[in-house]
Amino acid sequence: MTLSGFLSPAFVSIAGECLLHFLWQGAALAALLPAANFVLRPSSARTRYALHVITLFLMALAPVLTAWWLWQWSAPEGEAIRLGSRLPLFSLASLPAAQASTGWTPWLVTAWMCGVALLSVWNATAYTVAWAGTRRCRTGLPQPWPRIVERLRMQLHIRRRVQVFCAPSRKAPCVFGNWRPVILVPAAALVRLTRLELEAILAHELAHIARHDWLVNLLQVFIETVLFYHPAVWWVSRGIRREREFCCDDMAAAVTENRRDLARALVTLEESRWSPAVTASGSPLRIRIQRLLDMPTQHPAQSRLAAVALLVLLAGVTVWHPVFAAGQNTEPPPPPPPPAAPPSENTPPPPPAPPPRRTGAQPAVAPAPPQPAKTPLPPGFPSVPPVPPAPPAAPAKVVPGGMVGGVPGGVVGGVPGGIVGGVPGRAAAAVAGSVPGVLAAGETADKSEAEKLVEEEVARRIRWTNQRFSKPGVPGYTTDRGRIYLLWGPPDELEVHPGSKEMWRYRLLPVFGKDATFEFDGEGKLTKAPSRGPAPI
């Protein structure tokens, strides 16, 4: 199957939901930026930088919160499942496996993971190339520069030691590293800049070090990798980089008390790396120079346009997501939904109340079974909240001495062969007993509604057993486990010793009474059936 086939369906489902939700969350957060700019009218680059960084941080937080939220509302109190082998953390039984493995959520998650993997490899290589570049040049600067750098370092209150090297092959000065920062100065700079100009440039680089910009940048790259598919993330990230340069320009100008030389140095450096291949593309340098020379800059129009665009995007996604999510559901939202009703609206889903149909209309049911919340379902079992078996009126017949390979104390009523669409007789009846919403035949107000539910449940169980228990030439629902699953749904407790045996325990079954345990061998053949218990309740 897809790459995510080996991951538990719960993870795939949650991840897909989070990714989709981030579409509107990201747009909303990004739209807040120009709004904040409009309201607060931040005057300094530092404030704008802070706003951008906060926005990006919230964007990174959004999917995490969404995932946590979904997990909370889906897991029935996350009780541990007793297994012979350990399970990964995310195995939430209650997320419907059927939904997660059909539909295109797995493809979405797979595509996303592939994107993240590729970008990570790319970034890791870029990092290595950059790092190798810094290792190559180790010639220090001639005096008096080390002293000047020290002085600037003190003025900017940088406690870490900073090394400055001359890099003949570089085209522009840069900084690498956060804890042992290194400044690389191109040879062109040493040659073409005056003393004041080079000092201004060094002050600019030291300002980057003082503000830990390199580290923030690394986090930016990380967030860009994970949320690569949303343009708002790139937009905000670009804004951060832009404002960062402005901040450092301001800081350098403040420390050296010299805006003019910094502006001149920037232009000289840009000239030194000019090549005939460059076309007029509106470089960001102009705005920086204008700011340094205290000239009015034209920013705001850009952000207004961006705000409008993002609001449109946000509106579009808000409208479209419920439509999209609704299409994914394979069951109607009203009961019986699995407790993890995927939030099909953009508002957080109401807490999944215990199945509403479970209103004591079953007097015959003696020990009210524990809420679905307490049931540890095995991973991957569709979450049909276990309901007490139907009252005696339910025609759950069992064929004595039944089939299943001559197991003594035979079990398992006949499953009509090979009918998926039509409502099979006994299986349906048995299922009818265990599907919530169908109280007893005749008790539901809308009979066709009940029948529809039963049909759907049966179809789903058959689908699921075919998926899970099929062997070449043997459809899933005809195997031992499949038949039992078809009749009575997922067991309340599952004990799996991979390869050797498997035990299914039902707390209460119509014929077998309390604590009915079925044992299967490593192949899935029934080895032990529960003995007939006391009279059905």
């Binding site: 970034n123 290589t125 190339v129 190798a132 690498f176 940048n217 001149r264 840009e270 000019w274 102009r286």
Partner: protein, 132 residues
């Protein structure tokens, strides 16, 4: 040290096989693969010696050339150069540079120069006009 050009790489490959060789020997080897002129090979090898890609011993009348670096090392350098080129932009983004990756055009640069000069002139004018 720059990477060898494709023609220089051919010569280096021959030198790696032959070890020490004169221009004549190298040329003979090259001729087997593809027609080439002795003078071209000689010129190339002289340039390579100047670049430092090959070492030259001038004891005898026919100079003996040897590859300055082994095959693996050269290959490593070539890969490194390629990586540098491919990842230039991304690596630049990981380093905090004074200049953005996007470059300015010639017009913009001259415009910016003019802006600064005008600003300076205005400032000087203001200073001179200030009453002492």
């Amino acid at each position: 040290m720059k990477s060898p050009t494709p023609a220089e790489l051919e010569i280096l490959k021959v030198l790696w096989t032959l070890g020490d060789a004169t221009v004549r020997q190298v040329h003979d080897e090259l001729e087997r693969q593809r027609p080439s002129r002795y003078t071209t090979t000689l010129k190339l090898m002289q340039i390579m010696a100047a670049k430092g890609l090959v070492l030259r011993e001038e004891d005898e009348r026919a100079h003996v050339y040897r590859a300055a670096r082994g095959r693996e090392e050269t290959q490593r350098r070539m890969v490194g150069d390629l990586l540098d080129k491919v990842f230039e932009g991304s690596a630049a983004q990981l380093m905090m540079g004074a200049l953005a990756h996007q470059r300015a055009s010639r017009q913009e640069l001259s415009e910016l120069r003019r802006m600064i000069d005008d600003f300076e002139a205005a400032e000087r004018g203001r200073k001179e006009r200030k009453p002492r």
